[in-house]
Symmetry: C2
Subunit: 344 residues, 2 copies
Amino acid sequence: MKQEINIAIDFMGGDDNASFVLHGLRLTYEKYPESRFQLFGDEDLIRSKIKNFPDLQNISDIIHCETFVRMDEKPSLSIKRGRGTSSIWKAIDSVKNGKSDIIISAGNTGALMAMSTLILKTMSEIQRPAIAAIWPTINGETIVLDVGATIGSNTKQLVDFSILGASMAQSIFDLDQPRVSLLNIGEEEMKGLDEIKKAHDILKSGSYFFNYQGFVEGNLIGKGVSDVIVTDGFTGNVALKTAEGTAAQISTYFKDAIDRSLTAKLGYLFAKSAFQTLKDKMNPSRLNGGVFLGLNGIVIKSHGKTDPTGFSSAIDLGIDMHKSSLILKIQKNVNELNKELNFD
Amino acid sequence: MKQEINIAIDFMGGDDNASFVLHGLRLTYEKYPESRFQLFGDEDLIRSKIKNFPDLQNISDIIHCETFVRMDEKPSLSIKRGRGTSSIWKAIDSVKNGKSDIIISAGNTGALMAMSTLILKTMSEIQRPAIAAIWPTINGETIVLDVGATIGSNTKQLVDFSILGASMAQSIFDLDQPRVSLLNIGEEEMKGLDEIKKAHDILKSGSYFFNYQGFVEGNLIGKGVSDVIVTDGFTGNVALKTAEGTAAQISTYFKDAIDRSLTAKLGYLFAKSAFQTLKDKMNPSRLNGGVFLGLNGIVIKSHGKTDPTGFSSAIDLGIDMHKSSLILKIQKNVNELNKELNFD
């Protein structure tokens, strides 16, 4: 029997009454029978829903929480209202107390980040936590960070993000020397912001556990030229959202093109299985799940609007990272590098 | 007979020996017979090429230039080497002297911007020029600026860009009250950089010639929710390149899906005309051509890698703007607004 993995679930987060949660947990349980779930939320609500999932009932604890954080609540207010009582807070706290190995929420991102930072604390030598996204590329996947935790990053933070992202790439892509790049607006060294240029100078001057490759521009993210792409949270968030928007835009064009004529519809039927592959590749499910890096614990943010597969894949990612001892790996990498690095 | 429009062409810019230039000019001439071209570059080269275009020979002047700017040259070096002698410099100078109405180059963007700013000067009350891109959306087109001239913009510059972009939208989309939005990472007012928040406060507090709509996130650009989307040049460049990269990535998926089976190929044949429409929509030709705004003259940058249609559409855009007296319109809008605005 494999060692149990304890997973804290914020049951109250997400749109559409989080109807995807239990179906998602079942998918994860089928894949990882060693899963055990701690469900944080309104006890009556959880009991009324879980009774249709007898397999999950046996492996889940329900922890009643008096409050929950609204999706649109400001983080400062959510902490005032939900400190010690809300489902997000208590779920994170169970990681802090060692009762859970990872925590997943489809709730309010800002509140999840603020509470995670308060409870779990930032790792020593790391200035600010980051949100890492897994970006599908034509060759596989790339980790892009930060996609929204920081606004405007200094040089030290960009170097921190390189270490965090490269450690994650080692874990989930199983790579020895991940390739790391900095997002910039020109490949020439002359361009870009001062803090990015300085981070570039630091990263290229040393020999680290990752392979620093220099600058990349936004058009290369989807080409899979690097395993990790580092940027500040403002730029990363705009890039991620713009890519999502462009994919949605092209889907609309595609549907319009198919609907235009009978022959086009007929052609679509012939090519349907091929287009299913295309649709799967454009499916953001695997991208679902921002990972909070730089904290003393594994925190995963699932999209608020997701489906069982998306929610389950976010959990699976957390399980992957737990099994590969990501937190220990990061702390070791951070400690080793910070001895060598010098930020003035 | 319509009034002649004089168009200065940097003959030496662009990849692939600028083979698209004369074919592009012919397309523009067919559409606008009032076009007259000033061709700046190596006289022998131009003569050897234009002899195959007798229709263009009659309406073109050739202005010999001793030097030209390389595509990868640093702007500072290009000014040192090419001041007064290079094809870009002399072409811009012809706008300054009133001999040309607009200037188009497919050459080095940084050099074109640096020389344009030196020669034509920034408009009074405008701090920095911007590069505006025309972004295809599911409803039509949106102007996005700045996409690369500035790195990190202050509040005044973001408000300037709103005025510049809205004036351009009035001209090329023929709108009375264009909708203007600021690109940000959350729709809530709490998020974003300080300078963006301050620009937001200024824009929403007054009543201007455009309709300020607040913040938009990256995923909404392609939905056509606004006529003008304003951001700093770093973020705008990353967003534009990321959108291009995502479109290219999906094209690759699409080709792979079609190539996977015989039935898929057959289906593709049936639906071919529909997919042609799709391909046309994803064609960046119409997006080709960044417009430099905020200078005392119309300067258009064409992509270095373009084709005759793309080059011609960049010129056509310049003709549109000239015919609608864009520069006068901008200066009027800028003067009126700057009386009302107060930047501390």
